[in-house]
């Protein structure tokens, strides 16, 4: 039996096929999936903020793009994933409200997405698929067995990346 493992906000988890990783209602946060298709292992981190160095209270590594991805890789290699085979799929980073231009909450989704991409790039992990930006929430499911990322949104057809 496969188990659906839920990852909350500022949280991360790893699994091996046939288990499935999911995170519900991604808004401006970004869900980053890293997987190794040979060992059929995968990890998902649900980050909320782009940069841990800009925040005083940063013990929760899963909250930030930079530290979250590092922490996820450690967990993945611990369950048998090969660091050099890891590929990434990312989703989320929407702008949920049309804030005024002077709001500092503006573009937080976009900044999360950018920071995630930069971090992955600096680690040499290739992003094979992404569904980011725009103005709607996403629920994602990742199947390590097939490497497929399911993206469900309100009033939109199911997307498989």
């Amino acid at each position: 039996m496969s188990v659906m493992i839920k990852v909350g906000m500022a949280d991360l988890n790893v699994c091996t096929a046939p288990d499935v990783l999911t995170t519900l209602g991604l808004g401006s946060c970004v869900g980053i999936v890293l997987y190794d298709s040979r060992s059929k292992t995968a990890g998902l981190v649900h980050i909320m903020l782009p940069d841990s160095t800009k925040i005083r209270n940063n013990e929760n590594t899963a909250k930030f793009a930079d530290t979250g991805i590092d922490a996820l890789i450690l967990r993945l290699t611990a369950i048998g994933a090969n660091r050099n085979r890891l590929l990434a799929k990312i989703a989320g980073g929407a702008q949920m409200f049309a804030f005024n231009a002077n709001s500092d909450m503006l573009r937080i989704g976009e900044r999360n997405t950018q920071a995630s991409k930069l971090k992955l790039q600096s680690l040499g992990i290739r992003i094979v698929a992404e569904d980011t930006g725009l103005d709607y929430g996403r629920t994602i499911e990742f199947y390590p067995g097939t490497g497929q990322l399911y993206i469900k949104s309100v009033g939109r057809p199911l997307k498989i990346l």
Binding site: M9, G25, F99, I108
Partner: protein, 204 residues
Amino acid sequence: MSNINLDQIDNMQFDVLKEIGNIGAGNATTALSTMINGKVDMCVPKVALLELKDLPDVVGGAENIVVGILITLDGEINGMMMFMMELKSAHHLVNLLMGKSMEEEAFTEMEYSALKEIGNIIAGAYLSSLSTLINIRIGASVPYMSIDMAGAILSVPAIEFGKVGDKALIIETQFSKDDSDVNGYFILIPTLESYNVILTSLGL
């Protein structure tokens, strides 16, 4: 200066915050009731210290589709005020106001702005009563509206709170119309410093 520590809020502070929710939501509910010309009940407010990851569950699960109207607060009180309704309730409300029969299609532009204005009026009633109570001016933004999964909408205040910690202290009040076809939530999410301002101004 009163200092609020999220991990040890005393009973007195809890009660005061609850009363703030009571007064604010009471006025907001009255405004709503006047608008739709019907009786609207409200529940006892909940003051809860939540882990950020549990925040979406306050309105019935992360995937629950809701209409969220958000107003950001500035001045001496910073934070956010949210007014959330289930999609069905929002349709009912719009139909009540515009004298239409029940249908659950996508909102027209007119209905969309009506809904936004409802949110503005009742959130305004909440905030102005709070402002009078603590005798502090509260600056409110224009209303922003989004119809989506509760988790996605609540990620916006969660991110703001995420900048300072892993928990959010919220004052939540649920309301429902007598035949329970319209119900929703008022959620006040002040920043930590604003809680201090509120409590201090009330002599705590």
